[in-house]
């Protein structure tokens, strides 16, 4: 069962990622990225991370991707153009990605002592997670909330119309 679920959702994940690269329209890429994120949530659940599976769907597939699709539609982004630069990027991009994949795969396949995952494994409950998060790691958690607040202020300041950076000199 674990094997079947892994093969189905890992295949879906890779298909979505490849489709993200193949599509030339940004909205198609965004929708395939949502497929990748939802199938990753299932894989997290298979690995026993129930809270992260929920957070993946809510935060990534929900909030972040809504932001992406919203911006794609707001800016009315059309098909991407093919220029001279894109040919050079292809020439460099494919070997680079292949080399990185080769190196990482070699390291993983030579690693010793990696275990296996099955359906009977214990699931990390949200209770265990929050016990560590709200005792030992309380300060980083609170700092994260400050980070989010600063990001909101920065986003509002950057996207505001009018006296932004372009017109402030006048």
């Amino acid at each position: 069962m674990h094997l079947i679920l892994f093969i189905v959702f890992a295949g879906l994940c890779l298909a979505g990622a490849v489709n993200l690269l193949l599509q030339s329209h940004p909205i198609s890429s965004a929708l395939s990225l949502i497929v990748v994120m939802v199938s990753l949530a299932v894989l997290y659940l298979l690995l026993g991370a129930e809270f992260l599976a929920a957070a993946q769907v809510i935060v990534y597939a929900g909030a972040i991707m809504v932001l992406f699709t919203f911006v794609v539609m707001l800016l009315n982004a059309g098909r991407e153009e093919r220029t001279r630069g894109s040919h050079a990027a292809r020439l460099v991009g494919f070997p680079t990605a292949a080399v990185i994949l080769g190196i990482i795969a070699t390291v993983i396949l030579h690693a010793q002592g990696l275990g296996s995952a099955g359906l009977r494994d214990n699931i990390t409950s949200t209770q265990d997670l929050s016990a560590v998060l709200f005792t030992k790691l309380l300060l980083p958690f609170e700092v994260t909330s400050v980070l989010i607040l600063i990001a909101i202020l920065g986003a509002v300041a950057l996207a505001r119309h009018g006296d932004g950076e372009g017109t402030s000199g006048k």
């Binding site: 069962m1 674990h2 079947i4 994940c13 890779l14 990622a17 993200l20 690269l21 940004p26 890429s29 965004a30 990753l40 894989l43 997290y44 690995l47 026993g48 991370a49 809270f51 992260l52 957070a55 935060v59 990534y60 909030a63 932001l67 992406f68 911006v71 794609v72 800016l75 982004a77 991407e80 153009e81 220029t83 630069g85 894109s86 990027a89 460099v92 991009g93 680079t96 990605a97 990185i100 990482i104 795969a105 993983i108 396949l109 690693a111 990696l114 275990g115 296996s116 099955g118 265990d128 997670l129 560590v132 980083p140 980070l147 989010i148 990001a151 909101i152 920065g154 950057l158 932004g164």
Partner: protein, 111 residues
């Protein structure tokens, strides 16, 4: 229950498969970052890389039965949310100033 069916239910898979999947996702993200010519799609490739790394964090958290790997993924998600908000605001500002999303035309700081 059919014995072969029971065997399939109990079947375990090696964790290196998860790590290989995460490496493949990361490399597809790198490839997208390099070959895509649209600013928003390049930004989506960064999110794909982050997701690939998150999967390997969760895999190692499962391997060592440790909670801290999952908490790290939680922090990565929060930082990614902040990054997406600021990054998309920058993209909107760029579009307002240059009226294009093609990375080849946004080359003011290029040598």
């Amino acid at each position: 229950m059919n014995p072969t069916y029971a065997h399939m239910l109990q079947q375990e898979i090696p964790l290196s498969w998860y790590l290989l999947l995460s490496a493949a996702l990361f490399c597809l993200g790198v490839l997208g970052f390099l070959i895509k010519r649209n600013l928003i799609t390049v930004f989506m490739s960064i999110e794909l890389m982050l997701n690939g790394v998150n999967l390997s964090f969760v895999t190692f958290a499962h391997q060592w039965h440790a909670v801290k790997g999952q908490i790290f993924v939680f922090f990565v998600m929060m930082v990614a949310a902040a990054e997406a908000a600021v990054g998309l605001a920058i993209i909107i500002a760029i579009f307002r100033a240059r009226a294009t999303l093609a990375v080849d035309r946004i080359d003011l700081m290029k040598l």
